[in-house]
């Protein structure tokens, strides 16, 4: 100790680098996650409220966990983990995005006391892993399989699942109407693939939510049109549909080409040649016998009038995804030239129509032979309402999709969490050592779901939870909260069902996230790049900070 008890500072990292480490770091990470959890907790369940977020002058009103977290613009490294798990829950199962963040936050909150008492994070993580494993096994044991032998009954069962997913959303009161839509949409899809991207969701402001339309086929908004479009027929029965990726316009064939003209007479020839090119293309299209011509690229005024003269409907600049859905619905394939188009390349449907919906006009293709795609045209009083309806429907669609693929359900309303909590508690008593404490902490953390549900609904959480605990210990597996009665009841009989996959995935990712946060005991943040002295560059840097990741 030649330094007389004093350690000299040894500079390893660049100046300005922020380091934090040790137990304090773990605790501060936990605090950050809990703060995020606090923001979200009020949105859980049927009486969960919404959050209004204004970002870059765009207003969003939502109670979808993933959406809120995305818009919160979280920069804290540990808190970001919560955002990520919620997002992965969204892409994996689509529902339960709030629950997963709540659970992760609660696991961390419970482990905070152990950390403060000096317990090693590895012991805690070991316990959490074990508890999670046990819970998932138990869910698999308890889950009930939906029978799909009878299509009518199966449909009814799917509606129940969709209804539970919608219960916390703005469309809760119209859920009968919307569950019908959602189940119909998902059942129309290809049952092996169930690609929800093929459910086209269009939004038209105005009207009431229940004016929402379900179209068995494709719908897309009228594209930009040139003069002459109005003279085209807007209604076809069994039309032939040609899908192109060709620009139909009178234009220079090559952008950088230049023609040198020596003689005046050549002048007219070049003009004629250009006309011939486009007219040939148009004639070739007419010769295919198509009634409807769609193109991803612009269809110019000349072509519009040409088609109008020949009783053909055309639409240019059709967005890519709409085009894809049209092809899936009507058959045929995208053509990149106008020559050699055979009958085989054309699609067809029963009825094509252009209709007015609210203030906008839509092209509808209905009764398609290969209908594996549907469109929903959402209506609502304000843009924010429609957007929230869309998010809610997305959740419900995902839930139905999951229920079809993996036909196992458990009861919602906190029932399954209470049961798992009971089982873990019982198990914890059988093992000695620190693990006992940790597994019972995990069990306690699970109760956050029913407790928060009660709190949001303004019910007495402590009382109801005690009732639930006692019933579960008597073997009533499916007892959960019932908001209609403001009490408890058998939620399986009440048809409050959720796909078990949602729960398993939520538990697993929440545990993983908690473990990840607990295992981090040091953060090294490199100092942000020096800002440029001149004002313009400084402004740019400021802008850079404002842009979400």
């Amino acid at each position: 100790m030649s330094f007389r008890g004093q350690t000299p500072t040894i500079v390893v990292l660049k100046e300005g680098t922020d380091t934090s480490q040790g137990r304090g770091q773990i605790i501060s990470n936990i605090n950050a996650c809990v703060a995020i959890q606090d923001t979200l907790r009020a949105t859980l369940g049927p009486f969960g409220s919404d959050i209004l977020i204004v970002n870059n002058n765009k207003t969003t009103i939502s109670n979808d966990g993933a959406t809120i977290l995305k818009l919160l613009d979280v920069v804290h490294p540990a808190a970001k983990i919560l955002v990520d798990i919620s997002r992965s829950q969204d892409s994996e199962v689509g529902d339960g995005t709030t629950s997963v963040a709540l659970l992760a936050g609660e696991f961390l909150k419970e482990s905070k006391q152990f950390i403060e008492e000096g317990m090693s994070p590895t012991i805690i993580t070991k316990g959490f892993r074990k508890a999670c494993e046990l819970s998932c096994e138990k869910i698999k044991e308890l889950q009930v399989e939906l029978h799909n032998e009878d299509p009518v009954e199966f449909r009814e069962l799917l509606r129940k699942c969709a209804k539970t997913a919608m219960s916390s959303k703005i469309i809760h009161k119209n859920s009968d109407f919307f569950t019908e839509l959602v189940v119909d949409s998902v059942l129309t899809l290809d049952q092996d693939d169930l690609n929800e991207q093929l459910i086209g969701i269009k939004k038209v402001p105005g009207g009431s939510m229940t004016d929402t339309k379900f179209i068995k086929g494709v719908a897309f908004k009228k594209t930009f049109s040139y003069a002459g479009f109005e003279q085209q027929p807007k209604n076809f029965k069994n039309p032939k549909i040609l899908n192109l990726n060709v620009e139909l316009e009178l234009k220079a064939e090559k952008d950088n080409a230049e023609v040198r003209i020596d003689k005046i007479n050549d002048y007219q020839e070049i003009v004629d040649a250009e006309w011939k090119l486009i007219l040939q293309k148009l004639q070739a299209i007419v010769d295919t016998g198509a009634n409807i011509v769609l193109s991803k690229l612009p269809i110019g005024d000349l072509a519009t009038q040409f088609f109008a003269d020949r009783g053909i409907f055309c639409a240019g600049r059709v967005p890519q995804d709409d085009m894809n859905r049209v092809i899936l619905a009507v058959g045929g394939s995208i053509q990149t030239t106008c020559s050699d188009i055979t009958e085989h390349d054309l699609g067809t449907c029963e009825v094509f129509e252009e209709v007015q919906i609210g203030g906008e006009r839509y092209n509808l293709f209905e009764g398609c032979p290969k209908t594996k795609t549907v469109s929903l045209i959402l209506r609502g009083g304000a843009d924010q309402v429609i957007e929230e309806v869309e998010r809610s429907l997305h959740d419900a669609i995902m839930v139905v999709k999951r229920s079809i693929k993996n036909r196992f359900v458990v009861a919602g309303g906190g029932a399954i969490e209470m049961e798992l909590s009971k089982i873990l508690r019982t198990y914890s008593r059988t093992i000695p050592g620190k693990q006992q404490l940790i597994i019972s902490a995990f069990a306690k953390a699970l109760e956050i779901i029913p407790r928060q549900l009660c709190e949001n609904a303004g019910l007495d959480g402590t009382e109801l939870l005690n009732k639930l605990r006692s019933l579960h210990s008597k073997g009533e597996v499916w007892y959960g909260l019932d908001f209609e009665k403001e009490s408890i009841s058998n939620n399986f009989e009440k048809f409050i069902w959720e796909p078990s996959l949602v729960k398993i995935n939520a538990l697993q990712s929440a545990t993983e996230a908690a473990i990840l946060v607990l295992n981090v005991d040091e953060t090294i943040t490199n100092k942000a790049n020096e800002e440029q002295p001149n004002a313009a560059a400084a402004a740019m840097a400021g802008r850079g900070r404002g842009i979400p990741r």
Partner: protein, 558 residues
């Protein structure tokens, strides 16, 4: 509105600009935390309700036939006078988020129905106002919203029950008589507007317009076919309906005939000039001879074009592009009146109306592609040099133009808006001929029904139902207030009258006709319009009540 600091050991994001960890070191959780505004809980809901109330108070005085107008001055000093709810709101430039929601609400009522844009905002304001009281009693906001939704369902059912049907005469002429229902309905919708001076004229115009373009078998009216054009000068009384098309252009040459009949119209989208290739090109002229050749070529082209037009038999040329003096002169000397620079949508409308075809080049011009109409004439407005062309007696008469005159721009603009409202009313009646009686009669009837139902509800719905019925009362009360009547006395009298006489048509007598039966006064509103108002207002109330957390990112610093 900052939430009261909460006594939690956790960093609470609402008051934590920077949270501190155990070591006393600050850390940031959310980006730009300091500049974010945050409010949550009941405080947030209350501040939202106050914002909504302010907006609806502004609009309240514009409700009804005795409603007053507002002056709106845009950032560039343009003045707008209106009492149309949607217009007022869209020009107010609100910064509050909830107020913006109300704007969208009235906009969507405008898009869908076109009438009742003030009413829907006033109703939403009233509903939120009522829920404020309930929230203060400690009732959960979402439960209030649920109750409102149930009450709304009953109100809508009640509307269906009290709805009446109007007669749409088979013979279109009958609908234009002042005694026809459509006419009276159009008149009601104009009641509160600036044009009430020439009430009958506008009502007739609206009915005629819609009936001309309506497809009665499909019950559909395409508004694209109705063009409303405003021109300054003259009085409102000089406004008229033109059974045809107007173009805001004049003939290309002042010596061309100002009006002639039996038109054959060539509709062109190519300019009167020698065609140019689209590919980049270059023409080098080295000798004088070649230059002469070029000139001849151009000359020939012009005569060739004119010959082609002549050959097809056209006697009027309408062109999307311009033509130079040379061509203009040739057209005149060949007796071919022409109009240039006609916009794409006008061109399309002319083509539709005259059954003509738009022709992209002179080579394609044939007699079959010409449009036909009876007459074209140039109309000169007053002493100003403003002219416009009117094409009348088109083959396909399904296009009409309303020409609105007025002594200043604000009056013209407001008249156009008023006409639009009444066009919407007539259209809605053609779509669905069920009506309910106005003057607050429907609201009073629903209010009575709901307060009657309220006692049958158990739980919190009972409160929500009563609140809903009180919110509905705001409409007749504001109507009475705006008409200079004692609101409370009027409302109570009307209510007792409705109950005693079992007549749901009793409403506020705004215009002092000494008659409270709206059926006799024929003050009507469309059923779909009123239904939409109730549904939209309830929906938005739910949305506002559900929000309990607001996060507003700070203004960008650049």
């Amino acid at each position: 509105m900052q939430a009261p600091p909460q006594s939690m050991e956790m960093p609470d994001m609402s008051n934590a600009i920077v949270a501190q960890d155990e070591m006393g070191r600050p850390f940031i959780i959310v980006k730009d935390q300091g500049s974010k505004e945050r409010s949550h809980g009941i405080d947030a809901i209350k501040s939202h309700i106050l914002a909504a109330r302010q907006v609806s108070t502004i609009l309240k005085t514009s409700l009804g036939p005795r409603g007053l107008d507002k002056i709106l001055i845009s950032p560039d000093g343009e003045i707008n006078i209106t009492n149309d709810g949607a217009t007022i709101l869209s020009q107010m430039e609100l910064s509050n988020e909830i107020a913006k929601l109300l704007v969208e609400l009235s906009k969507s009522q405008d898009n869908e129905i076109g009438d009742g844009t003030t009413g829907v905002v006033v109703l939403t304001g009233a509903l939120l106002d009522q829920s404020l009281e309930l929230i203060e009693k400690g009732i959960h906001p979402i439960k209030i919203a649920n109750g409102f939704e149930n009450a709304c369902k009953i109100a809508v059912e009640n509307l269906d029950k009290i709805a009446d049907e109007v007669v749409i005469h088979e013979d279109l002429k009958d609908n234009l008589l002042p005694s026809s229902d459509l006419f009276k309905a159009a008149k009601t919708s104009l009641g509160s507007k600036i044009v009430s001076k020439s009430h009958d004229k506008f009502a007739k115009m609206a009915v005629e317009c819609v009936l001309n373009v309506a497809d009665l078998s499909r019950k559909d009216v395409d508004f694209e076919l109705i063009k409303v054009e405003g021109k300054l000068g003259g009085s409102i009384d000089d406004s008229k309906l033109i059974n045809g098309i107007t173009i805001d252009k004049d003939f290309s040459h002042p010596q061309m005939p100002k009006s002639f009949e039996d038109l054959k119209i060539a509709i062109l989208t190519c300019p009167f000039e020698p065609p140019k290739p689209k590919t980049k090109h270059k023409l080098e002229i080295s000798t004088i001879e070649e230059f002469k050749n070029l000139q001849d070529y151009e000359q020939n082209k012009f005569t060739e074009m004119i010959a082609k037009v002549k050959e097809s038999g056209a006697n009027l040329v309408i062109c999307q592009w311009g033509f130079d003096d040379e061509a203009n002169h040739l057209l005149l000397s060949n007796d071919l009146p022409a109009v240039r620079w006609v916009g794409g949508s006008d061109l399309e409308r002319i083509a539709m109306a005259t059954n003509g075809r738009i022709v992209p080049r002179f080579e394609d011009l044939t007699p079959e592609k010409l449009g036909h109409a009876e007459k074209i004439r140039e109309v000169v407005m007053g002493t100003t040099r403003e002219r416009m062309l009117v094409i009348e007696g088109c083959e396909n008469t399904k296009t009409v133009t309303c020409l609105i005159r007025g002594s200043n721009k604000m009056i013209v603009d407001e008249s156009i808006r008023s006409l639009h409202d009444s066009l919407c009313v007539v259209r809605n009646l053609i779509k669905d001929n069920r009506i309910i009686y106005g003057g607050g009669a429907a609201e009073i009837s629903c209010s009575l029904k709901i307060s009657e139902e309220a006692d049958k509800q158990k739980g919190i719905d009972q409160y929500a139902f009563r609140a809903f019925s009180q919110a509905l009362d705001v409409i007749p009360m504001s109507l009475a207030e705006n008409s200079g009547l004692d609101p409370i006395e009027t409302l109570t009298t009307l209510k007792s009258q409705q109950v005693n006489e079992k007549n749901s048509n009793i409403g506020v007598d705004c215009l002092g006709n000494h008659q409270n039966d709206m059926k006799k006064l024929f003050v009507i509103e469309t059923l779909i319009g009123k239904r939409q108002q109730l549904l939209l207002a309830t929906q938005l109330t739910r949305m506002v009540l559900k929000i309990n957390d607001v996060i507003i990112s700070g203004k960008d610093q650049y």
